[in-house]
């Protein structure tokens, strides 16, 4: 339903789909939409994600049918046909995906028939029918995975018991996605696993096609990917585990490692050895810088995944006091809200913070402004900096959107990321 949304964080379904496709090596989105949708959706996620953009095709180089009044009135399938043909002629990609803008969605262009014309000629073109207005970037992430499951991934009887698929980290919509996936990959590789991150290591459409061989789907997110996970399991017989939130620091990362070890029946000695090494590495550094930062009372404004991670690290590993946590992405299902609340409230060392679900910037600002308890540190997005300045609170730009810093492979996640995060607390006193 229409409601006021000051500064939505992220874009429409197409933004999420485009973010995923942009992160997959040699994959080309083709927009069947109005002339502005490529730029708007690229601006929505990549444009606010620490200044990193897809190197292959992005923004101005994405093929688009640029539908005008004529197409709105008479239908746009002819324009779509020549746009796909042109894309295939000039862009040297391994796969092409047709996205449906609001315009094409409302007038009901039959994009499946057009893509099928190409498919029968052996051209790897796939249709995604979910139109822009159907939801936000997060839904886009699920929509594109549903497309992969329905049309791209090939069934496989043999499973590789060391192969795992990682889900729940949305490229660009999480500005730290590259570094985070690299850290997850690094940790799991130490357990002897082969990791499909899909978005790093130049993994491309072949990796996606063969992802049905995996022994386990690992979802790192408290709510995203429910539908696709079920679908994946039903169609390809790959079970999934959900770790209810991203992890920063020893406590949560070790819990994650143990859960993966349990789910895959890994040698527990190896698992504990890896954990020991990693924890030693982290604490060796932490022991070398003590006492400069006095204890902070903190608030977090972030998507659920990162809100969980920041809150739990600062409270469980770094002795800070959680005051207020605002989940700034729309969460629709009650069960998801409860899972998020549970993960944030269930702290080993601190009293649980107040938790709010707000995505309208006005309401977010009001909540921080009017918080009765003192806040001395705010971890949030560029949009939340203003209220931090106003209240003279130390601020860390750690959540989407990130406009004021360049992020290549920086991450706050995992063991090594927790050190970077701690460095940044000192950097910004």
């Amino acid at each position: 339903m229409s409601e006021i949304m000051e500064n939505p964080k992220g874009g429409c379904v197409l933004a999420g789909i485009n973010s995923v496709l942009s992160a997959i090596h040699r994959t080309c989105p083709v927009y069947h939409s109005g002339p502005g949708c490529c730029m708007q959706t690229t601006a929505a996620d990549q444009g606010q994600s620490g200044h990193k953009h897809s190197c292959f095709v992005s923004g101005v180089s994405i093929p688009s049918s640029n539908m005008l009044e004529k197409e709105v009135v008479f239908g746009g399938v002819n324009k779509l046909r020549t746009t796909i043909q042109g894309a295939v002629d000039i862009i040297d990609a391994d796969a092409y995906f047709v996205l449906t803008g609001c315009t094409a969605g409302i007038i009901g262009d039959d994009i499946v028939s057009v893509t099928n014309e190409f498919k029968t000629k052996g051209v790897p073109v796939y249709a995604i029918e979910t139109p822009g207005f159907a939801g936000d970037s997060s839904l886009g992430y699920e929509a594109i995975w549903n497309t992969f499951i329905d049309q791209v991934i090939e069934p496989s009887e043999e499973k590789d018991d060391k192969l795992v698929n990682i889900f729940g980290i949305v490229p660009y919509h999480d500005p730290f996605w590259s570094g985070t996936l690299e850290e997850i990959d690094r940790i799991l590789s130490k357990l002897g696993l082969k990791v499909n991150t899909f978005f790093t290591k130049k993994q491309g459409i072949e990796t996606i096609k063969n992802s049905s061989k995996a022994a386990l789907n690992i979802i790192i997110n408290p709510w995203l990917f429910k539908g696709p996970a079920k679908k994946f399991e039903n169609k390809f017989n790959v079970p999934s585990i959900r770790f209810p939130g991203l992890f920063i620091g020893a406590t949560d990362t070790s819990e994650f490692v143990r859960e993966v070890g349990k789910a895959l029946n890994l040698d527990s000695e190896l698992v504990e050895k890896v954990i020991r090494e990693e924890e030693e590495y982290v604490y060796n550094y932490l022991a070398q810088a003590i006492g400069v930062v006095s204890w902070k009372r903190f608030a977090v404004v972030a998507d659920a995944n990162n809100a969980v991670a920041f809150t739990r690290y600062l409270a469980n590993d770094y002795s800070f006091t959680p005051v207020l946590v605002i989940i700034s992405e729309p969460i629709y299902r009650q069960e998801d809200k409860e899972r998020i609340i549970k993960r944030i409230e269930n702290l080993e060392y601190a009293n649980p913070p107040k938790i709010l679900f707000l995505s309208d910037q006005y309401e977010i600002n009001e909540a921080i402004r009017n918080e009765e308890k003192e806040i001395t540190l705010l971890v949030g997005s560029s949009n939340d900096r203003e209220v931090a300045l106003e209240k003279d609170i130390q601020f860390i730009n750690g959540a989407f959107p990130v406009n004021e810093r360049l992020i290549f492979n920086r991450t706050y996640a995992g063991y090594k990321g927790s050190l970077t995060f701690t460095e940044d607390i000192y950097d910004n006193l």
Binding site: I4, T41, G47, C102, I106, Y362
Partner: protein, 488 residues
């Protein structure tokens, strides 16, 4: 051309001033054909991303201080908000003023596209008014609301009695025009029809309206105009609604970019007799002097202006001549909006750089007053010619040209465009700031920037060696107009 401010809709640039987005040929041919009226634009059977007119239109309006923009559409459309929010805060801070402008989306969803949501829109307008107490409210449509036929005009009319600040419907259906600059006209139309008031009686003004983007050269322009007893009113970045309401009282209107300022300039002239300064723009030496002299003529200040020109020439011309020696003979390709492409190519010519190809994202055959754009007329009169195309920001056409001509530099005002040139190994100059080539001083700086860019190519060359571009070899062998077809 007659303006109709009783209707909230603005005709598109295509329909109003014969703008086109597809052409490949030479500058002379383009100019001659537009002068004699035989120019026909092409369309493309294959295209890459263009840009939404709403981004242009609404970011202009959102730059005004203390207003509210309500973008009625799916959440993805209002993402421009983040940019506007950020820019307006940064620009206000830079100037030391505050702005409480907000940009909200209405987060339209699937149900709304079926059942409509005018009732909610009405409530949202009232709530926004209550929450933020803006000084003006702009209510915009989107593709989705346009197609399902949401009547935003009626809603706006309906709430007028409950809101005591100007409120106006702004029609930003993205599919309406292939020329995103139509968005500039849409914002001008909204301002002139809802905010600008008739001149107050007896008010004598020495003000001159100056339409620009981000007013980065504000202090020095104020300083310069002081010498001529003129006071610039910059729009729309950091403008107040109060300032805008008095635009009709100014001595003249001028602009930094003809594409940006043409509509409001002509509208104020037609409706309120405020003369619009029509000349080539302020880039480069000839441009700056021509523009100043035109202002002198229109406002009756020629003597003061001639004196200023003489002083400045003495300071800067010798220095510019010095840099020119090193620039002589280098080659350039440029891709910009038409308000800049044909101005910057003139400046490059002045600096001794050879333009091998100029791309304009669109092209206006004529301006609101029916004349060929002054920048084109100048090039034609001075017998300057090179290959030119009208390219709708099409990256594949840019890359085809860069590969074939391998110029010493590529210049663009669009960051996404320079990125691709750099990946190709071409030094790129991002002419982001509209004042980057303004007047003598900045022309000198611009010449030096070019020199820096072409003298150290370490990043471009190293990156290009290690980067594979997405385009097929087949495409590089094609003519750049391979996908153009007769417009229909």
């Amino acid at each position: 051309m007659p303006f109709n401010f009783n209707n909230s809709n603005v005709a598109t640039r295509e329909n109003r001033i014969g703008s086109i987005t597809g052409y490949v040929g030479t500058l002379k041919d383009l100019a001659e054909k537009s002068q004699c009226g035989t120019l026909k634009g092409c369309s493309r059977c294959f295209s890459q991303s263009s840009t939404c007119l709403s981004t242009c239109g609404l970011s202009q309006l959102a730059a005004i201080r203390d207003v509210a923009v309500i973008h009625h559409g799916p959440a993805g459309c209002s993402v421009a908000s983040s940019g506007s929010y950020y820019m307006s805060r940064v620009m206000a801070k830079k100037r030391g003023v505050t702005s409480s402008t907000v940009y909200v989306g209405t987060d339209m969803n699937e149900n709304d596209t079926i059942f409509g949501s005018t009732k909610q829109l009405r409530e949202i307008i009232l709530e926004v008014n209550k929450r933020y107490s803006p000084k003006a409210i702009f209510v915009s449509s989107s593709c989705a609301t346009g197609i399902i036929g949401e009547d935003i005009d009626s809603i706006v009319d309906d709430v007028k009695s409950e809101i005591d600040v100007p409120i106006v419907a702004v029609h930003c259906e993205g599919f309406k025009s292939r020329i995103w600059a139509t968005g500039f006209d849409i914002s001008d139309h909204a301002v002139v029809s809802s905010i600008v008031q008739p001149p107050r009686e007896g008010v004598k003004s020495n003000k001159i309206n100056f339409k620009n983007f981000f007013e980065s050269a504000r202090p020095e322009i104020i300083e310069m105009f002081k010498k001529f007893d003129l006071e610039p009113v910059f729009l729309y970045c950091n403008s107040t609604v109060e300032e805008l309401s008095h635009l009709s009282e100014s001595l003249a209107t001028t602009c930094i970019c003809g594409t940006l300022g043409n509509y409001i300039g002509n509208a104020l002239e037609e409706k309120y007799n405020v003369p619009y300064v029509r000349s080539i723009n302020q880039c480069g030496i000839v441009g700056f002097e021509t523009w100043l002299r035109e202002i002198g003529k229109v406002t009756g200040r020629s003597d003061k202006i001639e004196k200023y020109i003489e002083e400045q020439r003495a300071i800067y011309l010798p220095q510019i001549e010095e840099v020119k020696k090193e620039l002589q003979g280098h080659t350039a390709v440029l891709g910009m909006g038409p308000g800049y492409t044909f101005e910057v190519s003139r400046v490059l010519d002045e600096l001794g750089i050879k333009v091998v190809w100029a791309l304009a994202w669109h092209y206006d055959k004529k301006y609101e007053n029916g004349d060929v754009p002054p920048s084109m007329k100048y090039l034609l009169d001075n017998d300057i010619d090179f290959e030119a195309s009208v390219a709708d920001q099409q990256n594949y056409e840019v890359m085809n040209i860069l590969k074939k001509y391998n110029p010493d530099m590529y210049l663009s005002r669009h960051p996404g465009s320079t990125v691709w040139a750099i990946k190709n190994g071409t030094p790129a100059i991002y002419v982001a700031d509209e004042y980057m080539i303004f007047g003598y001083k900045h022309t000198l700086e611009f010449a030096r920037s070019i020199l820096d860019a072409i003298n150290n190519r370490s990043f471009e060359e190293n990156l290009a060696k290690r980067t594979k571009l997405p385009y097929t070899d087949w495409w590089y062998k094609q003519n750049v107009d391979a996908f153009l077809e007769e417009a229909n």
